[in-house]
Symmetry: C2
C-alpha cells in the first residue's frame, strides 16, 4: 500500500521531475506517457516511482485524475485550464466545453455539505449531429475504430 503518514513528504529529484513534466502540459497524461517523457528527456525515473508519486500527488490534491476510456489513469496538474468534454459514442468526435454554471453548482453543492478543496470532473457522451441523422435514416454507419477528432469550443 502507498505509505502515507502525517509527516511531510520528502522532496526528491524524481518527484520534482514528475511535477515538472506534469505542469508542462495542460492535457491529461498517463503515468506511462510521463514516464516515457522523462526517459526521453534523459531523466531516469522508475515506472513504479512515477505511479507512486502521481498517486500521492492526487491524494494531496495537487493533481486531478480521471480514467481515460481505455482504462488508464490520466493526470493533470490542478491549476491548468479547466473544461469538460462531450464525446460522440458512435464516432468519437470530442467537443470541449466550458461553463461557469457547473463550476458554480459543484462548488455550491460541495460547500453545502461542508466539503472544502473540491475538484470535479464531468463526462458527457451522446450522438453527434452527423451520427444522429445517420441513425434516423436507419443507415447506421457505426465506426468501430474510434478516431476522436477534437473540436474546441468557447
Amino acid at each position: 500500500m502507498t505509505g502515507q503518514a502525517g509527516t511531510a513528504r520528502r522532496p526528491t529529484r524524481q518527484r520534482a521531475a514528475i511535477a515538472r513534466a506534469l505542469s508542462g502540459s495542460a492535457e491529461f497524461r498517463s503515468a506511462q506517457e510521463i514516464h516515457a517523457d522523462l526517459a526521453g528527456s534523459g531523466t531516469r525515473v522508475g515506472l513504479a516511482t512515477v505511479y507512486r508519486n502521481l498517486q500521492a500527488m492526487a491524494t494531496d490534491g495537487e493533481v486531478d485524475v480521471i480514467r481515460s476510456p481505455d482504462g488508464e489513469s490520466v493526470y493533470r496538474s490542478c491549476s491548468t485550464d479547466h473544461h469538460h468534454h462531450v464525446v460522440c459514442r458512435s464516432c468519437g468526435l470530442a467537443v470541449e466545453v466550458t461553463g461557469d454554471a457547473v463550476e458554480r453548482w459543484a462548488e455550491a453543492v460541495a460547500a453545502a455539505h461542508g466539503f472544502t478543496q473540491v475538484r470535479h470532473t464531468m463526462e458527457m457522451e451522446g450522438l453527434c449531429p452527423a451520427c444522429t441523422s445517420s441513425r434516423q435514416r436507419g443507415t447506421v454507419v457505426r465506426r468501430p475504430t474510434q478516431a476522436p477528432r477534437r473540436v474546441v469550443d468557447g
Copy 2:
C-alpha cells in the same frame, strides 16, 4: 475489436440474462460481479460474453458506464435513478447529491452542439468537514484504508 455492423443485434439467452441482471439493481456493477451473479443464480454465461454484451449495450446507449476508482468498468442500466457523489479524498466519506442544475446544463450544452441522447457522469472530490478541520489544526490523521461511509442527501 467488437464486430458490430448495421444489422440489428441478435437476441440470445445470455444477452437477456445480462440485461435482466443489470436492470435488477440501481447500482453500478462490474462485469465480474454480474458474471458472478449469473453464475450464482444458475445461469451459465461466459465471462467474455458478459464483457462483450455490456460493451455492446454501452455502445448502443442502453447502459451507463463509468470507471470505478479501482479501475474496473462498472455498468448500470440507463433509466435508473440518476445522481452524483462528493467523495472525501482523505477518509472516503461519500455523499450522494442530486441537482437539476447540472442535468439541465449538461443537456443544454450538449444540445447546443447538436448532440442527442446525451448522458453524463460527474465526480466531485474534496475534503469532508472532519478532515478539513483536522488539517487546519495541523493534525493530519489520514486514513490510508478507505472506509467509504455513504450518506444520502436529498
